[in-house]
Subunit: 451 residues, 3 copies
Amino acid sequence: MTERFAQPSKSTQHSGMLELLDESWINLKGLKIYELASELWPLNRSLTGDGNRRTLAILKREIPSLQVHEVPTGTKAFDWTVPKEWVIREAWIRTPAGKKICDFSQNNLHIVGYSEPVHEFLSLESLQERLYTQPDQPDAIPYVTSYYSSRWGFCLSEEERSTLEEGEYEVFIDSELIDGFLSYGEVIIPGEQESEIFLSTYICHPSMANNELSGIAVATGLIQWLSSLQHRKHTYRIVFVPETIGPLVYLSRHLRQMKDNVIAGYVLTCVGDDRAYSYVPSRNGATLADSVAVSVLAAIDPEFRRYSWVDRQSDERQYCAPHVDLPVASIMRSKYGSYDEYHTSLDRLGEVVTAAGLSGSLRAYARAIQALELDYRPTATTIGEPQLGKRGLYPEVSQKGSYEKIRIMREVLSWADGDHSILEIAEKTNSDFREVFEVAMLLEEHFLLAR
Amino acid sequence: MTERFAQPSKSTQHSGMLELLDESWINLKGLKIYELASELWPLNRSLTGDGNRRTLAILKREIPSLQVHEVPTGTKAFDWTVPKEWVIREAWIRTPAGKKICDFSQNNLHIVGYSEPVHEFLSLESLQERLYTQPDQPDAIPYVTSYYSSRWGFCLSEEERSTLEEGEYEVFIDSELIDGFLSYGEVIIPGEQESEIFLSTYICHPSMANNELSGIAVATGLIQWLSSLQHRKHTYRIVFVPETIGPLVYLSRHLRQMKDNVIAGYVLTCVGDDRAYSYVPSRNGATLADSVAVSVLAAIDPEFRRYSWVDRQSDERQYCAPHVDLPVASIMRSKYGSYDEYHTSLDRLGEVVTAAGLSGSLRAYARAIQALELDYRPTATTIGEPQLGKRGLYPEVSQKGSYEKIRIMREVLSWADGDHSILEIAEKTNSDFREVFEVAMLLEEHFLLAR
Amino acid sequence: MTERFAQPSKSTQHSGMLELLDESWINLKGLKIYELASELWPLNRSLTGDGNRRTLAILKREIPSLQVHEVPTGTKAFDWTVPKEWVIREAWIRTPAGKKICDFSQNNLHIVGYSEPVHEFLSLESLQERLYTQPDQPDAIPYVTSYYSSRWGFCLSEEERSTLEEGEYEVFIDSELIDGFLSYGEVIIPGEQESEIFLSTYICHPSMANNELSGIAVATGLIQWLSSLQHRKHTYRIVFVPETIGPLVYLSRHLRQMKDNVIAGYVLTCVGDDRAYSYVPSRNGATLADSVAVSVLAAIDPEFRRYSWVDRQSDERQYCAPHVDLPVASIMRSKYGSYDEYHTSLDRLGEVVTAAGLSGSLRAYARAIQALELDYRPTATTIGEPQLGKRGLYPEVSQKGSYEKIRIMREVLSWADGDHSILEIAEKTNSDFREVFEVAMLLEEHFLLAR
């Protein structure tokens, strides 16, 4: 519509929300958060530990308002307890030929997460029980953890495993499980209202580009954009937490307030590849978060994949659990579990995750936020349709075929009965929320709509 | 069912509603209203003017109860104002070779509706800016208007335009825009109740057979039929108005009463060709007018096309607008915009519109009216199924395959719980409303149903 | 799930409900009720008469708690009256060549049900009016009755009829229509609550294996199983009645109580063949009986056929009639009317009906009863997901692909908000009711769910 009609007045209080988000900004920001992801890639994130702390420190540099919280080992969070902190310094296996393999310093994934310390000499047969591979993807190192029971192990590709000869192997893991802390980050960006939009992403998967790091990157980009806006109707609560235990710890501290205030929320994960758009609903399935996600994705990619609640596998499990029941859904690119590289060393920056993939997610989430910020229920000021022609809003000469130009204007006027929101009008008329909103602004300027 | 069981008693108060409408009557009436359309065809109808007045005078001859109203130029109707009256006497172009083309006396469509007077000599180049064609249909003269801004122009086929040679053209339009009146017709046919059925058709398109004249013809046929009935439960309000401004003027005078009384309404347009049946819903989509339209069309033509509210383009836009919100839908043959001849000189009587096409619409609307008149919620007088056999309503010998005969009777009895109407029972059981109603009458006579 | 996790405690009060019903029991019971059907096969059941009395006597031997009721001829049941009792001793035709055909002692179907007595000599032409065949199935004897108007007739195959030569035929029917009784059987199996599950099957079709006798057999098997249980939450009301008049007589005596107590019911018919599973809904379509039927059938056979209310043809017509309106549906194998052998001599034990077919129905109905008995609305005892790992309910090592094992556990925990029943959780997650219930029991034992 923008090329056809005058733009809404710059003085509109929400104009910043619309204008700061043009395509060149999105593409540039996509590149910047890709750089950030590259910087964060080597850090060994887990449920706890220095990898997480260093990650949060870098995020603090990008997001000055980030607050880092440290929760002591042993702290209760509903049915769960904050585990010991995992310290990991060095880990490797030396083959009978003296070659160092499964070297943690080469790839974070070589060590089973939360492995105990060990220094032993074993036969190949005994070693095999400690090795994890992904036989259906022989070139991939799988991602394996054992958070809540004591063990140790190494991960490697099936290809490498098949080359191991008989003989004595030296295994060495220099790790500790200590009484320490679980670290998480929290950003509150205040708005005019107490109503909150909640975003959650996780910081516990080492060297998983799409299924972890992309969420951190996109969340950071969104926070920078939100912080730059002059006005925000809603308050934004964004958390960087380790999966499962993180949300539970956070909920145990903020559940009452969140139940009172959160009107929509999303789990940001798998938002980095450029192969698909997808949506996992909230448990309820019909919350504001769901409507907005569906509307935005339909406008961006009519082929987007709609999953159902049975397909959930991330922190919406906690946010939507019985007695919590927050309106939290997920907008994703290729969903966890739906792409081959998932949870292996193949889920790499540059290969799976690209700047274009991150930009697409940034666009989708920013549009969702726009919809949440800008949505309202317009009411027509006239009985019957207004005369658009006398306001210069209608072609002067009426001929077959010329009506399409004002289709959206007619739709908005047709539904402006005070019962239907811009979001609902966009849904009913298969239109982009932003186009519908811009038309509504134009009609408001002509006093044809009131709030 | 009628051949299988005794007919309902002639004394049934609604029998007239059913009996006056047999197929031979419908076909004969189709021929008569086709003749009427032929008589109305040459008149140059527009928003205002003598073409409309002459049209209403002919309708008054056919419908003695028709009231003609004249609304002065400048009268306010919500956001709109009744425009000047357009007087058009003569219009043509003379080519450099002296040939008269675009002669209004040959075809009403040659002149852009509401053209100002002009008498000028122009080059071909200057003239071209005043000419309108439909390039994708080179043999068609398009229908073009410019009601609300002053201009003049001519319409012709692309074929003719391409033959125009260089040289000086004389253009002549003998027209006036005067302070006059907007004319419309109104018919009220009283019924036993205050509940109203509303029908609206428009009288403003010159020489458009399906997309205008067919509506006038079918509305006239329906009024004649309704007036001939001994009993009507509902009151009928039928208007002949120019599109858009007409409904707004009418609503500005009658909105309160219509909101109180109208239980169902239809816009009659594009009801003249015999190529399809279609339905445009009301904005609400689930009013009585919608249920009846769908039920009737499903019985007449299971292939009927269901449009949605986004496909509307006629006066339901005003009748269903916010704050008006009347239950008004549309039963059509080939919908405006869906057939090639639409809004061109190809939309002709005899070619697009036929007596058979008009008859089909008459049948559909009459059946809709029957359903609106006759519908009620029957209540079974027995607990469990009644014994049909002892009343001669069931075959005496029971053998495989013989049950189909009494299918509808069983359906009616099954749903006669006082909560379901005949219309709903017809919908639930994929049956024709009239068959269901006749069965209900038969069961009433046997005291198996009560009202 | 049973092989993966510890079984629910044997002390669970409902364990009997689950444990008594293993596959070997079902298969054995299928064989036993097939034997019972074989014993009942020769008896000439009709609306009334000694065939029905002998049938009920044999059932009384199998079901000691069966009560036989005798309702006198002339008794009113809503719109109906109990007819005269039909006594039939002998019936045959002697051909001109002296051969005895259509001999009732050879096949119950040779005589039109409720035939009057006759002893006449007729020409072939006159006889033809008294003969019934199924021309589209020339080798089948059709099943024909004339309950409520006096007549006589014989049924035979079209093949046999075509061999009849000209000449004089002797017809002989030794029957009587006397003031007698309508006989029906009733079983009440008390439960802990007043809530009732209602089962109805009919005893009026002579020599129809699937479309009658299978229902009697499966109902008997279910009653024996229900009686053997230590605990029943609901009370069970099961009736063996002649079709149509039987339910009406029964309802006329028990309607008030049934409307107060029956929470779900089924008509058992066509439950003996092994070719399909199908479901006919209640009139309401969304009762507990419907949900349970759909859930159970989806788990047993995802290809099961869903019929709609317009496909009903049995006693649900009475049980769901206006003013009765009980929640009664039907779980069937091949539905009446859907298989060729229906209502002919081809609907035979051993050919259409098999022990495997009966076992399948027994399984389906028993699972429906399990669901009705065991369903409840669990409530999670934790906020957020519980930590399954520390209870040994979660794999210690987390690797891609390993999550499927605890899918159902997660689903149950996800929906345990006190608003969703086990049945609803099974539906939402495309799971078997029993698997969901077993998981819920396991979670209850770990104090993760409460009632």
